[in-house]
């Protein structure tokens, strides 16, 4: 089972310094007996462009899977389609989507929240659309979920085959309904917010042959969990496929302390 760092694209620091830090982080992992970093998630928030950062990291670390994480808060369908086309052209096929923290819970308190498309709708679009022409055609028909047109004439614009992760909650029957919908539309990976599964979500998702990842914030280490090893063991016990740790600050970065 992997531990996967999730890092927000840097806000104030120079991205070149950020890359140097990241390199130290990556080299440090190989010395650790329990942690094998094969994946890094770069989360777009309001910092440096995360797709560009994914590309830079991917070029420098060809053996590491780089995943772009984006939320529905900041981008409407036009901007999201642009992201999909860009990712596809750059060969970045791993993507995680989430609804995302509402602006009132961020430093941009008064920003207009977007939420044009939700996670289920975007998942359906990603997994069922075959080409950008297809996306536009379906959008024109306001028929984004019924993607029965296959257009593979122009391979350059083919947007299929994304490895799609979705962030979910897993504590209520309403969450289970959402999980079932996401499985129906073809999501590949399910990222569960912390260890909150009390509805048998992990078992259900595994039965459907999908991957489950537990997502925690590094600040929980030392509070909710005595150590990273404890969180790791708990995730392992749940038969999760990975433990995602959100790195909230380069200063306290828990992974650098391993």
């Amino acid at each position: 089972m992997n531990i996967i760092p999730e890092i927000e694209s840097p806000l104030s620091e120079n991205y070149i310094d950020f890359l140097k830090e990241l390199k130290i982080l990556l080299n440090g992992f190989s010395r650790n007996r329990t942690i094998d970093i094969k994946n890094i998630i770069i989360e777009q928030n309001f910092g440096f462009n995360a797709i560009l950062l994914c590309k830079l990291i991917s070029d420098e670390n060809p053996d590491t899977a780089i995943t772009y994480s984006v939320n529905m808060r900041d981008k409407n369908r036009i901007a999201l389609f642009s992201d999909l086309i860009t990712l596809n052209q750059l060969g970045l096929k791993n993507i995680i989507i989430s609804e995302g923290l509402h602006p009132v819970k961020t430093v941009f308190h008064s920003a207009k929240p977007v939420y044009d498309i939700d996670v289920i709708a975007l998942s359906s679009i990603i997994k069922k659309s075959k080409s950008i022409n297809h996306l536009i055609e379906n959008n024109s028909n306001n028929d984004l979920l019924d993607n029965n047109v296959v257009n593979t004439e122009d391979a350059a614009y083919n947007i299929g085959n994304f490895n799609l992760g979705v962030k979910i909650a897993a504590s209520t029957p309403a969450d289970m309904v959402k999980i079932k919908k996401l499985i129906a539309v073809g999501a590949d990976n399910f990222i569960i917010n912390s260890f909150t599964d009390n509805i048998g979500a992990i078992e259900y998702i595994k039965k459907e042959h999908k991957n489950v990842f537990i997502h925690i914030n590094e600040l929980e280490i030392g509070k909710t969990f005595n150590s990273l090893d404890e969180a790791y063991a708990k995730a392992l016990n749940l038969k999760a496929d990975g433990l995602i740790i959100k790195i909230v600050s380069p200063k306290i970065n828990i992974l650098k302390k391993l």
Partner: protein
Amino acid sequence: MFLTTRKDIKEIIDAAEKYQNIGIVGCASCASICLTGGSAQVGEMAQALKKEGKNITFTISIDEPCDMRVLKEDIRFIEDNLEHTDAIVVLSCGTGVQTISGLTKKKVITGTNSKYIAKTEHIGEYSPLCRGCDECRLNFTGGVCTITLCPKGLLNGPCEGHNGIKCEVDEEANCIFMTSYANMKNFGEEENIARIFSPRDYSIKIIKKNI
């Protein structure tokens, strides 16, 4: 009922600075119910503007200032006063304000902020229930509007941020998807529980002049 809240009097005084002779119109419907435009508030506004040295040319409460038919009838009572009026302070929702502006061709100053379509629990206690999205999905959501009552306006289920009961954004409110699910379950609407909504079509929200 369309919910309005009172504007800060300073903003109204500021907007009225250039105008000496001022009329005041209240709304005896929605704004009256939410205590922003009833006859009492019209009287209070007149007092506040008099204190600022303004000459009040008329005060009137109109049943529905957003209804041109009603407005045309009632405006006759103040026709003479209107001639000597520089600006009208309107205590109604934005629709009433603009309807009065269109009819009188006078400078109008709104005394309220328009919020949303709300349920009245008691006088002074209101709950938002509808945003007028023009794509009502209440038939398929257990009778609760997730576009209005989810701060993210989601359609297809709860976000990842709720804590099992409460909303991530409004921590005092229950996540509306829990209510939606419970209602549909209670009604035996399995087909609606499994329903996936297509994203909203915002092209229909482009405001046309007339319907």
